[in-house]
């Protein structure tokens, strides 16, 4: 148990308490990433605390996609990065037009991400993938016996992609 505490220094008129490093880290990691990045300028010590890789919570990205029925040869990718706190939208032309079953306005957060490839499960019989590094967007067609069930889910665990299918009470992964 850590029971040490920084001494309270008393100067003539103003008492200045120096917070210990672990407390400063606790405070900094409650800040939005924009403020965190700005405060890297405070001092070298602050910079190191902000960049503490063990507590790196700032590089996290959400990606959505939308396909318009009329223009299914292109896809709109919207991504939100916690690193920059901004949404960016890109339009990608598709080599192979995709047929998607959900409505044109519908946007879904991805089910998971492996090596910067984001995955979604489509209401139709396909898994949608987007490679955010090479900006490629494609679909994996699932065979019929893989989609014939009541509920389906896609998830990522330990770097592998899992597809779960529920047929009545049985779950196949």
């Amino acid at each position: 148990m850590n029971i040490s505490m920084n001494p309270v220094c008393k100067s003539s008129d103003k008492r200045v308490l120096e917070l210990s490093e672990d407390i400063i880290i606790e405070i900094l990691h409650r800040l939005p990433s924009k403020s965190l990045a700005r405060f890297e300028c405070v001092s070298i010590g602050f910079h190191c605390k902000v960049d503490d890789p063990e507590k790196d919570v700032i590089s996290f990205t959400i990606v959505c996609y939308g396909i318009w029925f009329d223009h299914s040869s292109s896809v709109t990718i919207e991504s939100f990065s916690f690193k920059t706190n901004v949404w960016t939208t890109i339009n990608l032309p598709l080599d192979i037009p995709l047929r998607v079953s959900f409505l044109s306005w519908q946007k879904l957060g991805s089910a998971g991400v492996i090596d910067r490839v984001f995955c979604w499960i489509d209401m139709d019989s396909q898994i949608i993938l987007y490679d955010s590094v090479n900006r490629r967007f494609w679909a994996l067609q699932l065979s019929n016996d893989m989609v014939d069930g009541d509920a389906r889910a896609l998830g990522v665990s330990g770097g592998a992609l899992y597809y779960a299918l529920c047929v009545e009470a049985e779950i196949t992964v």
């Binding site: 505490m5 409650r30 990045a37």
Partner: protein, 167 residues
């Protein structure tokens, strides 16, 4: 302010005495004090008089106020606790830093969380210069180095004025 520790038992409730760095003693029910992990471990080791050499009377009074209120926490007084917390974090940065250091030393997780979040909220829109002043940190970058770090995150320094005030 300091209460006597002459009666160590009131009814069936087990009482504990906390002693501040100024020598003042506070008698409290064990059920209130065990929110604090450091004291809980000392109680388990059989202590009933707990000297807190790193916590002065002013800070300890505030911390006891917090523990007493949070010991009353039920499903029905959530709003009251919320308002209490809001008032609790209103002090100056110096007061908040005293409290957060004590909360960290005493391992009161709820209080630690409350204070760190409130300090973070208060510095969120501050300028780099104000943050240096508030945390009493001297800038150890050379002007060139600072410029370089600033350039790396240009976007973070854009978008409006930042608050230069120190309160």
């Amino acid at each position: 302010m300091a209460s006597s520790s002459s009666s160590s038992k009131t009814g069936l409730k087990k009482m504990l005495t906390l002693k501040s760095s100024d020598g003042d003693e506070f008698e409290l029910e064990e059920s209130i004090v065990i929110q604090c992990q450091t004291i809980k471990h000392m109680v388990e080791d059989g202590f009933s008089l707990i000297p807190l050499q790193n916590v002065d009377t002013k800070t300890l009074t505030k911390i006891i106020e917090y523990m007493k209120k949070h010991a009353e926490k039920t499903e029905s007084n959530k709003e009251e606790i919320k308002n209490f917390n809001k008032e609790f974090v209103k002090g100056s940065f110096d007061d908040q830093f005293e409290l957060v250091s004590a909360a960290n030393y005493l391992h009161i997780n709820g209080l630690m969380d409350l204070l760190c979040q409130s300090i973070a909220d208060r510095i969120n829109n501050k300028s780099v210069r104000a943050v240096r002043e508030i945390f009493n940190i001297s800038n150890d970058y050379t002007p060139d180095e600072e410029e370089k770090v600033r350039d790396e995150h240009k976007w973070a320094h854009e978008g409006g004025e930042f608050d230069e005030s120190l309160d």
